[in-house]
Amino acid sequence: MQSIFGDRKTIFILLGPALLLYTLLKVAPVAWSFGLSFFEGNTLRGFEWVGVDNFATFLNDDAALQAVWVSVVFAVAATVGQVTLGYLLALLYVFVLRKGSSLVRTIVFFPTILPTVAVALLFKSFVAVGDNQGPVNDIINFFGGESVEVLASTYGTMLTAIVMTLWSSMGFYAVLLYAGLLDIPEDVVESARIDGASGLRLVRHIILPLSLPILLSSIIFSFNSTLKVFDSLLALNNGGPGTSTSPLTLFMYRTAFEYAEYGYGSTIALVLTLLCLVFTLAVFRSTRRKVED
């Protein structure tokens, strides 16, 4: 048995292409870029060694620290929201709608594929004030409140961005988790039912532990993608008002590609990657006991 699952040739054939492509075309370029964290300049002007100056700049750069804060707040809120909603939807598909869930799944998934620009336009019109006041302010007016210019404030913009993200990504996480829930052997669930576990208790004691690996993967993936939020905050309010909702990616993109400071841009990217690493390890650590059965 051991020899069949430990066959070196097979491992090599199966893993080789992935490892080779990944190392050559992802790891090496990333290493190249990260190396440039210690340089100043761009590909045209040339690079000049500056040691850890870029890191010192980063730590003293108010805009950078603000961007870290924006990214972290967004990532935590969006991850909690989208994984929770996604999981609830997946439970709905598997245990309530069952085989009839196909259409619902499809429809809920659809917002994922709409271009962010269009989605942002839609949410902007929802919270609009003035001549084309959106439904949000209509409701506020109905209850006697004054119209609020949501996107003129930092909180309003963040809240809108998070709701927008949840709306467009919950279907995605639902499908991701759904595929995981499907793999739970039916007899395990059935026997638990016969033992009298039902509803919440069933979910908590049977389903949740069994779907923990995929749930964990979803959380990790969610953190890693929301920490790198880019286009939704850009399209919604251009990282504004001011730069108060500019995440690290937007700050990096502007620095590296608009201001042509590739060295400093790489430094920002490195910090972002470290942030992702910290979050991922934290998720791993906090649940280690549970996954390592």
Binding site: G41, L44, R45, V129, T243, R254
Partner: protein, 451 residues
């Protein structure tokens, strides 16, 4: 068991990465800097570069008109030049221009004729310093085509790029567009001073008409108003003085500009929700008669000429220049102008055949663009103008007649970072989340930091 294995793995990977990093960084750094030295100087007018195989033109995805007009030239007036050196198109997204050009130039692969970023092509910019930007005044003077360039366009380019280095495929002047009918109904004269403008706006507001609209979401329409106030108040050299360090944005007369904008916003003249209003919506408010005025560039003519969008009728759309500020150094005659996105000629590939292309375009583009697309360019119109709207004709005439110097816009001479800060912080200024003093102080700090 698994735990220890992963622990051991991490340092090993880190080491391997570090090794790759240092190698890659060294070779990258060396390659980037070394190859540029040989570019031909941008000062010479004679075709001193080597002709490429194709006349490769890189334009913005967002500007399909330019591509089709150049194609039209290649089939008609410039057919001979096209025969000698066939045109070939490339595209780049506007947001991606700086990155793409920097990359292509670093690989010695910049197209013969290409869109570029403003900061890159100035003499001290990355492309300018590498000697990749052809001086087109020298080039056109050499080929006898300089007379095809409008003096106003030459003046604008000199101001913003530090030389005539871009083909002025568009030339826009800016000012207030107003609804003639509303002005007449309210008995308002075209304002010539800032006080008059405020009085007019007040009259309109009293009468229940929204006085102005602006696309606050984009930021720059707001800073334009502030910048023009400063130009009228301090004089046409106001922003050059900031660039050269002869004045500070925190000086009283500059802060007055920010204050003027903040006051304008605070009185509610822009209408509710202006900070999130985009360009299309703003233009629409004006063209449907909701707002009486809007400050905008002459690119608005595209919408003005579209009967489907313009519901007030072209005959009701008027134009007046930004008014004077009482006691200020600037004059109402100094029109703010810009020449669109820069389109440079690579000095490296500026050979005789490219030179022929450049003179052919300069001679024929102005007329073609005006007749075919209603686009006003910085070239003279050398053919009979047949079917253009009275609004376009009015602006075209105005532009051809400008012989005094033009002024730029507020952030034109800033470094890219301060440029972006100026427009992003404009929302904070106009919603009262930032005072005029703080706004200017933050901006000045950014300018100083990026010197």
């Amino acid at each position: 068991m698994r735990k220890t294995r992963s622990r051991r793995f991490i340092p090993a990977t880190a080491l391997a990465l570090a090794a790759i990093t240092s190698l890659a960084a060294c070779s990258g750094g060396g390659g980037g800097g070394g190859e540029q030295g040989g570019g031909s100087g941008s000062g010479s007018g004679a075709a001193s570069g080597t002709d490429p195989d194709k006349f490769t033109v890189m334009t913005a995805n967002e500007n399909p008109t330019l591509e089709s007009l150049l194609t039209q030239l290649s089939e008609d007036q410039c057919a001979a030049e096209n025969e000698a050196l066939p045109i070939e198109h490339q595209k780049v997204a506007q947001a991606d221009v700086v990155q793409k050009i920097t990359l292509l130039a670093s690989q010695d692969a910049m197209p013969a004729h290409t869109i570029a970023g403003t900061a890159l092509i100035r003499p001290d910019g990355d492309l300018g310093a590498a000697g990749l930007v052809q001086d087109l005044q020298a080039a056109l003077e050499d080929s006898g085509g300089w007379e095809n360039v409008l003096p106003a366009a030459a003046s604008t380019e000199e101001n913003v790029y530090g030389g005539f280095v871009s083909m002025p495929y568009q030339y826009n002047i800016e000012g207030f567009w107003y609804n003639k009918q509303i002005f007449e109904e309210q008995g308002i004269e075209v304002p010539t001073t800032w006080e008059d403008l405020l009085a007019a706006a007040d009259t309109l507001q009293q009468a229940g008409v929204q006085p102005m609209t602006t696309a606050g979401a984009q930021g720059f329409p707001l800073t334009r108003l502030m910048g023009m106030y400063i130009f009228r108040n301090v004089g046409p050299d106001a922003m050059e003085a900031i660039r050269d360090g002869d004045a500070k944005l925190t000086d009283e007369e500059y802060v007055a500009g920010a204050q003027a904008l903040a006051d304008l916003a605070a009185t509610g003249y822009f209408g509710e929700g202006f900070t999130t209003r985009d360009g299309d919506t703003s233009t629409n408010l004006f063209l449907t008669g909701t707002a009486a005025m809007t400050y905008d560039g002459s690119w608005i003519l595209g919408a003005v000429n579209d009967p489907e969008r313009n519901q007030i009728g072209g005959e009701n759309v008027g134009f007046f220049p930004f008014p004077e500020v009482e006691g200020g150094e600037g004059s109402i005659e100094q029109y703010p102008a810009n020449a669109g996105a820069p389109m440079i000629i690579s000095a490296k590939t500026y050979g005789p055949k490219v030179a022929d292309w450049v003179s052919c375009i300069a001679e024929n583009y102005g007329g073609l663009a005006l007749n075919e697309a209603g686009v006003i360019s910085g070239f003279t119109v050398n053919e009979e103008v047949t079917d253009i709207s009275p609004n376009t004709a009015e602006i075209q005439e105005l532009i051809s007649g400008i012989d005094e110097e033009t002024v730029l816009w507020f952030e034109a001479l800033f470094d890219p970072k301060s440029n972006s800060l100026a427009s992003t912080n404009a929302t904070l200024l106009t919603t009262g989340q930032m005072t005029a003093e703080d706004y200017m102080a933050a901006l000045q700090e950014s300018i100083d930091a990026n010197k």
